[in-house]
Symmetry: C2
Subunit: 540 residues, 2 copies
């Protein structure tokens, strides 16, 4: 199986995302003059952007990876997958799978290797606006939300309340305005909606209404997928338009750990493949509870499970775009409860990214899932550690990276805005250090030290790269202790309250044409009202 290119072999991208030559050699002498020219003539380059190349952190050795891979294939071949539902089982048996004595579906190694070889890779996840397109390849990193929290934190009263459909729409509107968050996947559940049909259609509508970034929604039943696609077609202006620009992926948990298929979600994945909706195959085994307590064992199981999900999609539609979202979770073994913020979680998801990149498949991981209930210092370090390691490991898509609290039970608008700053720092770190004749700065050093001013403050180099090399936080504070005290000794979550209010009270975009929205409300049980989508709705 081909190993993905090592980071050293990939260009440290200075290209605008979307330029289609990512496999060019990094930092080669040849392109330098062109880059310098681009720098001095072209528009100012930002210090961070979507698609920066990760992979400098490799928690597993090549030998470790090989052993985990081999064991995962052993699992699929011998232990197999339970609860293989008929619609998929037929496809699988026809390709040479068999049922073992425990009535589990077993996959021959060669079939899995063929599926990996033929799977979708190097594809684009479209935004409604092409400027938000995400080019998923190699170890290019992107950061976005996820979560499906059921509670929203009120920072000022320090209380949680149940999340609603309006919250979901508001979170989408907020993400739409935050540059370091590259897509919107449902942060919260519309807990007030019980009916699955109402739920699915309302959620998909709310996400599409709030942002032009790529969205991830979910569908409980295959027939809802069909209606969702028809709705997206209408939003885009006509039948078949969604297949041309599929701006929504589906989150699906088609596997029930340990090592079983889930029929409803499995059928949804198959239907999405048929209808051209990219699939985010989320595997959420939890070490010590639904997967082995030994971290390596959890990876064996979850790699096998994600490969089983890959088989599900690819035996339905070969090569269909699928994110290989192996999100190994961790238990606090004192209670058995999920814990999202520890060092074990950080290293597991980084290893997951590395394993998926070994298959050269689109890697999705989970990071930023603090156990703290509040955007406090604990949330900060838990999120910082987990997200930066996921990025450094070269995860193509870091889910859960903003807004989440309370081990995914809660979400916070203020945390989301703070995390946008954090993700800027993470992305700046992932970008790394460019080494070239120019940046090595020998001539600058000579000029400054040998009869020069003895400092670099006014140097042309300093002035020319202060925006392109250095990132400045928006909410993050760099004032002096005196200034800070004079300004009321505010903590960052206190500053975030005002920032959220500012962003939320003004940004009510009309991303769905008003008449189309009315028509969609007539056709589908959409619970997001026109009133909720206008300023003065009373929420902000």
């Amino acid at each position: 199986m081909a190993q993905g290119l090592r980071r050293e072999e990939i260009e440290m991208s200075e290209q605008v995302p979307g330029t289609e030559t990512p496999r060019a050699r990094r930092r080669s002498g040849g392109g330098r003059a062109a880059r310098i020219a681009q720098r001095s003539e072209g528009p100012k380059e930002a210090a961070v952007r979507a698609g920066l190349v990760g992979g400098a952190y490799r928690p597993l050795t090549d030998h470790d990876i090989q052993r985990i891979h081999e064991r995962a294939l052993d699992v699929l071949e011998n232990i197999g997958m339970g609860d293989a539902f008929p619609a998929f089982r037929e496809l699988a048996l026809a390709k040479g799978c068999w049922m073992n004595e425990h009535d589990r579906l077993c996959f021959p190694r060669a079939l899995i290797e063929d599926i990996v070889a033929g799977a979708g890779r190097d594809f684009t996840l479209h935004g409604r606006d092409p400027k938000h397109d995400l080019h998923i390849s190699e170890s290019r990193t992107h950061f976005g939300t996820a979560g499906m929290a059921v509670r929203v934190l009120d920072v000022e009263s320090r209380k949680f309340r149940s999340s609603t459909l309006n919250d979901l729409y508001d979170f989408a509107r907020l993400v739409d305005q935050l540059d370091n968050i590259h897509w919107f996947s449902r942060t919260v559940v519309a807990t007030e909606i019980e009916d699955l049909h109402e739920f699915d259609m309302s959620v998909a509508f709310a996400c599409a209404a709030g942002t032009q970034k790529h969205i991830f929604s979910g569908f409980n039943l295959p027939e809802h997928v069909k209606q969702g696609v028809a709705m997206f077609d209408a939003i885009l202006g006509g039948e078949g338009r969604f297949r041309e620009r599929p701006f929504c992926s589906v989150n699906t948990c088609s596997i029930v750990p340990p090592l079983r298929y889930g029929e409803d979600n499995g059928a949804v994945s198959m239907e999405c493949a048929r209808l051209g909706m990219p699939v985010n195959m989320v595997i959420a085994a939890q070490a010590g509870a639904t997967s082995p307590a030994a971290l390596a064992g959890t990876l064996v199981q979850t790699v096998a499970e994600t490969l089983a999900g890959l088989a599900l999609v690819n035996l339905t539609v070969p090569g269909h775009p699928m994110i290989f979202s192996n999100w190994p979770f961790v238990s606090d073994l004192r209670t058995g409860a999920f814990s999202g913020g520890g060092g074990e979680e950080a290293v597991l998801n980084a290893a997951s990214a590395q394993l998926t990149n070994f298959y050269d498949l689109p890697s999705g991981v989970a990071a930023g899932m603090s156990d703290s209930k509040f955007p406090d210092n604990q949330a900060g370090y838990e999120k910082g550690i987990t997200t930066v390691l996921a990025g450094m490991a070269g995860a193509n898509m870091v889910f859960e990276s903003a807004g989440m609290l309370a081990s995914l039970i809660g979400c916070s608008f203020e945390a989301l805005v703070i995390d946008n700053d954090m993700l800027g720092s993470v992305q700046r770190a992932v970008r790394g250090i460019e080494v070239s004749d120019e940046t090595l700065s020998y001539e600058v050093l000579e000029e400054v030290c040998c009869g020069g001013p003895g400092h670099f403050l006014g140097q042309p180099q300093t002035l020319s790269i202060m925006e392109s090399e250095y990132l400045y936080p928006e909410l993050g504070d760099r004032s002096t202790t005196g200034e800070w005290e004079e300004n009321g000794s505010q903590l960052i979550h206190e500053r975030a309250v005002g920032k959220v209010r500012e962003l939320m009270s003004s940004h009510y975009p009309e991303y769905i044409d008003r008449k189309v929205a009315e028509e969609l409300r007539r056709r589908y049980p959409i619970k997001l009202t026109a009133e909720a989508m206008t300023p003065g709705s009373g929420r902000w």
Copy 2:
């Protein structure tokens, strides 16, 4: 020049630090049985400990490293070092150095290479108690304090006040009780003391009185070093004892960036080398101000500067223990002020560790230097990102990793206690994932899935490794949202207040015999009173 062993070649240490076979191959099949036996028979292994092997994160390619190294040698050979003071210049000229036309001391490449080859490496930094010994070699990681802040934060009033000698002693006592902080280097300045002699003797005494971990102190003049050693001898019970167990290193800034020597600190380094006190050669150039704004250029300069410091020590006493503390700092270029918390700072110090490990020298870096004034969410993510990347890069010693705020201007007891938890997570992540037949868990998976219980909660594997594989935070909160609200919705810094009070009100260790302390107060101008070293002093 020999490149340090890659992480893959180093055993993922399960040894007690101090076992002298670190170069054995990692995770080899041969040692497994022995390890299993050790696990089941020996004392319970902790999830984290000093000396875990880093190096899985390599921000620079081998080619990058080579280019920075070559340019650093070019700088030393051609641009040279300014202000070479007579006592050292004589030594250097005798070894083949020369003065160039700008009156700068230039080093032939071969001399620098010889100095690196003969420099001290693989040594022990002693604690007063041997259980705190730090074995500095390869990419084994350790975390500790530093800072020299001039202000202390009162978390409850959100005000800073000037730091005092009593604060310094209290910080030492606090670090003494925190397992994930491996040494104590002066967190704060005794700002009330103006006289340099009083200052140096009082500071050294206060550090030694507060902790049995390895300490880093400082001396403003060479004659103070001599008195410091005599004081340490007395503490240890007789002349010559300190040279046998040098439990204190000196922090020295013998280089003034860009590329100049500082005479006073330089003379202190030379005196420490003669008297057997390990030298922490701290290089604190600041990108965009005292070093090039281009990050690679800053590394060229700071590597050259740290090598110039290495020459200073090694031409005085060849092979003398010296930490190669290349701490590249960053400016916020909007103001020119130091900024310690950004992604640029994170990646620069990680790269510094990698460069020093390339020389197979003891690497010291700086991380954890948040720009926030308070242990809030910003401080959390800035500290988390910077410290975990330093550890992953394999820094032997991560300084500034606990307690610091306000870009090193402020320090906080509460932050220190919180950061101890954070460093636990960092260390757990650095420890990584052990891959062995046992941890791959194939048999466990088979048992659970094929007719077994379908979950892993009660599995023998789960129970046997729940303490050795998983780390549980002390202050970090993992309760449910309901429990959290019931307990008063506390943020971690609010819980830290009580924890600090508990730790500080009880722990007044007699690490310096009372009579010896009295005698030392008669001999030297030590301002830390006996009263300040006893419970009920009114501070806690």
